[in-house]
């Protein structure tokens, strides 16, 4: 106020006063108040009624992430719903001088504790459902499915995998006869709820699959890679193990049962589907590990029953490991779904009694190796 000298002290005090808009937290009515900064409190005096409210200075809070730069909203951090809206720069300065580091308003206490407790519960519930409830459900479901429906399901999946037209089915008659011979010798004395339906497809990947309902697919790459017919028989026995245990059906039922569950935890995160996919992979491989070990054990028993050396399984695993494809043999090609190849070799070797005679004659073995001499489009139910 340069140039003026105000003689009337009451008028001077009035001019120097700072004003703000107060909301008392009880009614939505704006109250014009003058601000006086005290030692511990902010004195807010109603401009018309003269009623004074005192707000403790250490309870004053600022609101975070505010858009408007020309308005300061001051809250109280002590559960009081009142608000002070300050538009005047002088008034804002007076308050910031009195409470220099106006801390931001926080939510109620105990928020993190709650997050922790519910977070643990959520992890526990999801794990319980995915690893406990759904596998049990799938086992029950697999027991209830009529064998006919299971076989039809396997056929549908086979058509889904190989029906696109790229792959060819190998159907040279001598080769199929050799395969039949191998199957008969392995299956002697074994009873399955449905007939086996073994097919060879033209695919260089060293792999074999067991689908629901007795459908087994051998890739031609597997027959090419095998050193002896016994090795093919060992893989076939392993896949028959999956059929006997209904692992394919169970895998399908598990995926029906867990549908939508893994994606749930991801919510609307970016790339949620990618993470969900990884989650599924981990889930599947953990389900399958036990199934693979069971199928291995089944194969060893089956080979011994057929009088074939159980060492064939071990030597095939060794061959796989040498070719660098040791992760790639299993139900539905699930990555890393097989137990450590090394452990399986050891287990299969341990079961090897040394005795045994080749499962096929050299002539039949040659015929099997030539099964892809004649091919056809897949899909036909033989």
């Amino acid at each position: 106020m340069s140039g003026f000298a105000i003689r009337n002290p009451a008028l001077a005090a009035k001019l120097a006063r700072n004003y703000a808009e107060m909301f008392d937290g009880q009614t939505p009515v704006s109250q014009r108040v003058s601000i006086t900064v005290g030692d511990q409190t902010l004195e807010l005096t109603h401009a018309e009624t003269g009623v004074t409210h005192s707000w403790p200075l250490d309870a004053l809070r600022s609101l975070p992430d505010q858009a408007a730069s020309n308005t300061l909203v001051v809250a109280r951090g002590d559960d009081h719903t009142g608000r002070l809206v300050i538009r005047d720069i002088e008034a804002a300065r007076a308050i910031l001088n009195a409470a220099p580091d106006l801390p931001p308003l926080r939510g109620p206490r105990g928020g993190w504790r709650r997050v922790g407790i519910i977070g643990m519960a959520a992890i526990g519930a999801l794990a319980g459902i995915l690893f406990g409830l759904i596998p049990i459900m799938a086992d029950q479901g697999a027991r209830l499915i009529p064998p006919d429906a299971e076989a039809a399901l396997g056929q549908t999946i086979y058509t889904q995998i190989h029906g696109a037209g790229d792959t060819l089915e190998c159907i040279a008659t001598p080769g199929l006869e050799a395969l039949e011979k191998m199957q008969r010798r392995l299956m002697a004395g074994t009873d399955l709820p449905y007939p086996l339906n073994i097919r060879v497809v033209l695919d260089p990947a060293i792999n074999a699959f067991a689908l629901p309902g007795g459908h087994i697919i051998l890739n031609s790459g597997l027959i090419d890679a095998a050193g002896t017919p016994d090795e093919v028989a060992a893989v076939l026995a392993h896949e028959i193990g999956h059929v006997a245990n209904r692992d394919g059906t169970r895998a399908v039922l598990r995926s029906v049962g867990s549908f939508g569950l893994v994606g749930l935890a991801m919510g609307d995160v970016f790339g949620g589907s990618i993470i969900a996919g990884l989650g599924r992979g981990v889930l599947d491989s953990s389900y399958s590990r036990a199934a693979e070990e069971r199928a291995d054990a089944y194969a060893v028993t089956m080979l011994q029953g057929a009088g074939v050396s159980a060492g064939a399984l071990a030597s095939f695993f060794e061959r796989l490991q040498a070719s660098g494809q040791d992760m790639d043999l299993g139900v539905f090609q699930h990555l890393s779904s097989h137990p450590d190849t090394l452990a399986r070799i050891t287990a299969a070797r341990a079961a090897d009694t040394g005795a045994g005679q080749p499962i096929l004659s050299p002539a039949s073995w040659a015929a099997l190796q030539g099964v892809c001499g004649q091919t056809t489009a897949p899909g036909a139910d033989r």
């Binding site: 609101l63 399901l153 790339g271």
Partner: protein
């Protein structure tokens, strides 16, 4: 003065910084920060909307949103598992040589979620209302999520069965259900009027919709592709008419809402303006993402070059690690930029336009309104988050 008008006091630059910063944090924390991002952006938008010079205030917290989300995950996990089990065993029982039960059971799961989605939307709205304050007074909503869910399912069924003729009935009844359960302090919002007032607004949309049906039927019966080409014209027009109906119905319904003892609220957005904002905003977003992403990718590539791991053969067959680095860098850049630009170019102008049309009549009656008690957050909109049916922010 007997009208309180609204102005929007936010700055795009501020919003850009906030959206970019929170977007980056969301990416770095693998999505965990998104609850904080939503909360902080809501606080920002709320504070920018000033009704009669007093800003709105958003008082929700990220922790309660995260807890609510986790709780929703637990509930939904059990619900889905139970539903899947029932669907699976039913399908197995029904199977008589028909192999399709797998697809059958899979298709049923989304159906099971439809009522849950309506329930989630009601609860998300309820949470947002309970965390909104104006002039220190809380807004709020009473319970009724399940009532909303079954009504929404019923009205949607009726609308579909009547080929859209009952659409205004659905719009009105659902809006009335929501409005009559909304409160400002101890003052209740009420929706007056009836479905009849919406038929004028819905007419162009219904005509267009039936035009689309007619073209599809004609194409199928006559087998002439010409009718199919007609859809190229009628489908976009139908969508525009749908947006126009949505916006007009909001205006018409708002004109028949009251608050407490005779306070009136009004909101009058323009459909044309909103459509323009959306088209322009999306083009701008596309341009920025398209121009900036290659620059960021160039910098990443430059860093790889400078780090000495570069080798001309990489252009033909990039090693997996480097390909992964480039792919992740691209994806994250596009994700963060897209989200930020959506806020700056689409959400910001839309909220600004809609907000600025809000009016409150007879503000002197506000002195009859009193504070309401604080509502607990419960799921804090967690069901909507888990099912990804949340709003833009």
């Amino acid at each position: 003065m007997s009208i309180l008008k609204t102005d929007f006091g936010g700055d795009r630059g501020d919003l850009f910084q906030l959206a970019l910063k929170t977007g980056l944090l969301t990416v770095i924390t693998l999505g965990l920060y998104r609850f904080w991002q939503t909360t902080r952006l809501r606080r920002w938008y709320w504070s920018a909307i000033r009704i009669g010079d007093t800003p709105l205030e958003y008082t929700g917290t990220a922790q309660e949103k995260l807890s609510g989300f986790l709780m929703a995950v637990i509930v939904l996990a059990f619900y889905l598992a139970a539903f899947n089990a029932v669907a699976m065993f039913t399908a197995i029982r029904l199977t008589e040589g028909a192999p399709d039960y797998l697809t059958w059971a899979m298709a049923a799961t989304p159906l099971a979620l439809i009522p849950i989605i309506f329930m989630a939307r009601y609860r998300a709205r309820r949470y947002i209302m309970s965390r909104t304050r104006w002039r220190g007074i809380r807004m709020g909503m009473t319970g009724g999520a399940w009532g909303y869910a079954w009504r929404a399912c019923l009205y949607w069924t009726l609308t579909i069965l009547s080929l859209g003729l009952l659409w205004p009935v659905m719009t009105f009844r659902l809006e009335k259900y929501l409005t009559d359960r909304s409160w400002f302090g101890d003052a209740q919002f009420l929706q007056f009027g009836g479905p009849g007032m919406l038929y004028g607004a819905v007419a162009p949309f219904l005509v267009m919709l039936w035009g689309c049906f007619a073209l599809v039927i004609a194409a199928v019966i006559t087998g002439q592709a010409l009718y199919g080409w007609g859809l190229l014209l009628t489908v976009p027009l139908t969508l525009l008419a749908a947006i126009s109906y949505r916006v007009m119905s909001i205006r018409l319904l708002a004109g028949m809402k009251t608050l407490g003892n005779g306070i009136e609220v009004d909101i009058a957005p323009h459909a044309g303006r909103l459509i323009r904002i959306n088209i322009l905003g999306r083009i701008l977003t596309g341009l920025v993402v398209g121009v900036v992403s290659p620059v960021v990718l160039g910098i990443v590539f430059g860093l790889i070059y400078l780090s000495g791991t570069y080798d001309p053969a990489m252009l033909v067959a990039p090693p997996p690690t480097i390909a992964a680095v480039l792919a992740i860098a691209t994806w994250l850049t596009v994700f963060v930029l897209y989200g930020t630009c959506q806020h700056v170019f689409v959400t910001f102008p839309m909220v600004k336009h809609i907000g600025e049309t809000f009016e409150l009549h007879e503000p002197t009656l506000l002195r009859t309104v009193r504070q309401r008690a604080r509502a607990d957050g419960r799921d804090a909109g967690g069901f909507a988050d888990a099912l990804d049916v949340g709003a833009a922010f």
